[in-house]
């Protein structure tokens, strides 16, 4: 690969980092952790502005300010519920996977013993307990996410 091609590859880092081709299990969890983190950060900004209207309602002694904010959000229809469902799933995954990362990075748990690198260089961090933790987290998050979805659909009167 020429240096020009390498430079081109470097510049397209953002797109390449989102291309899951060739990722191992840990890299999938890493990518999902980042995507859910961005979703949550953007929702947090919107949520703070949303709750600000409760403050305005209290300050003006006018609950209608809060209800008109809710009405504006409700005007999105099913999109509002889908958005909340995505946020709920993001929070569940980011929290559960974050706990795993804290066990890994702060307490050094779930990691394999360090060994000299030998071809084909399979990462020791992907030990059996690590894989088990990822699968358990995925199963619990999916179950809770389905439950959250049913709860939101029930709120719409769909079920």
């Amino acid at each position: 690969m020429s240096s020009e091609e390498q430079e081109k590859g470097y510049k397209s880092g953002l797109i390449r980092s989102l291309n899951p081709k060739g990722f191992n299990l840990e890299r999938y969890t890493y990518m999902l952790h980042r995507i859910t983190g961005v979703i949550l950060a953007l929702y947090l900004i919107a949520h703070i502005f949303e709750i600000y209207h409760v403050g305005l309602a209290v300050l003006n002694n006018n609950p209608q300010i809060w209800y008109s904010t809710l009405a504006e959000l409700s005007s999105l229809g099913i999109l509002e519920q889908i958005g909340l469902w995505i946020v709920a799933g993001s929070a569940l995954y980011h929290g559960a996977n974050g706990l795993r990362l804290i066990l890994n990075e702060v307490f050094g748990m779930l990691l394999g013993k360090p060994v000299l690198p030998e071809y084909p260089y399979s990462p020791t961090s992907l030990s059996r307990p690590q894989k088990a933790a990822v699968y358990i987290i995925t199963a619990v998050v999916v179950a809770l996410w389905i439950w959250a979805g049913l709860y939101l659909l029930a709120g719409l009167g769909v079920i």
Binding site: G13, L14, S17, R34, G37, V38, L40, A41, L44, I45, I48, F49, I51, Y52, V54, G55, A57, V58, L59, P63, W66, Y67, L70, A88, A91, G95, G98, L99, I102, E105, V106, Y151, L152, A154, G155
Partner: protein, 117 residues
């Protein structure tokens, strides 16, 4: 003290990220429980004015803790992602500045809301 833990180094910021994440595990779970079916209310009922104001007033300290932990953890997370993708020094300096300003604005709005409620 090892050099990698000198004051204002990113290693301290990472320790802050882990600490805030652990705090949020508890306070965010509590927040989600307040809008869950375990309250005995429907999702719409948990958004009623009286219920929201009651929660914000009664659990003001918990929500304050959540506000500060979530804003600092979340915005610093965005900063880390942006810094890994955007490398020119000037751009990184601008990203740091914008994120600090964003944290200040969000904390000001959130704190104001918690005080007036």
């Amino acid at each position: 003290m090892p050099s990698q833990y000198s004051l204002l180094k990113e290693s301290w910021v990472m320790i802050l990220m882990y600490t805030l994440a652990l705090i949020m595990i508890f306070v965010l779970t509590f927040h989600l429980l307040l809008v869950s079916p375990l309250t005995g209310k429907s999702f719409d009922e948990t958004l009623s004015y009286s219920f929201v104001v009651h929660n914000l007033t009664y659990y003001r300290i918990v929500f304050g803790l959540l506000l500060y932990a979530a804003v600092i953890h979340g915005m610093n997370g965005l900063r880390i992602i942006l810094l890994e993708w955007i490398h020119p020094k000037r751009a990184q300096w601008a990203i740091n500045l914008v994120i600090i300003a964003l944290i200040a604005v969000l904390l000001a709005i959130g704190t104001y809301t918690l005080i007036v409620v």
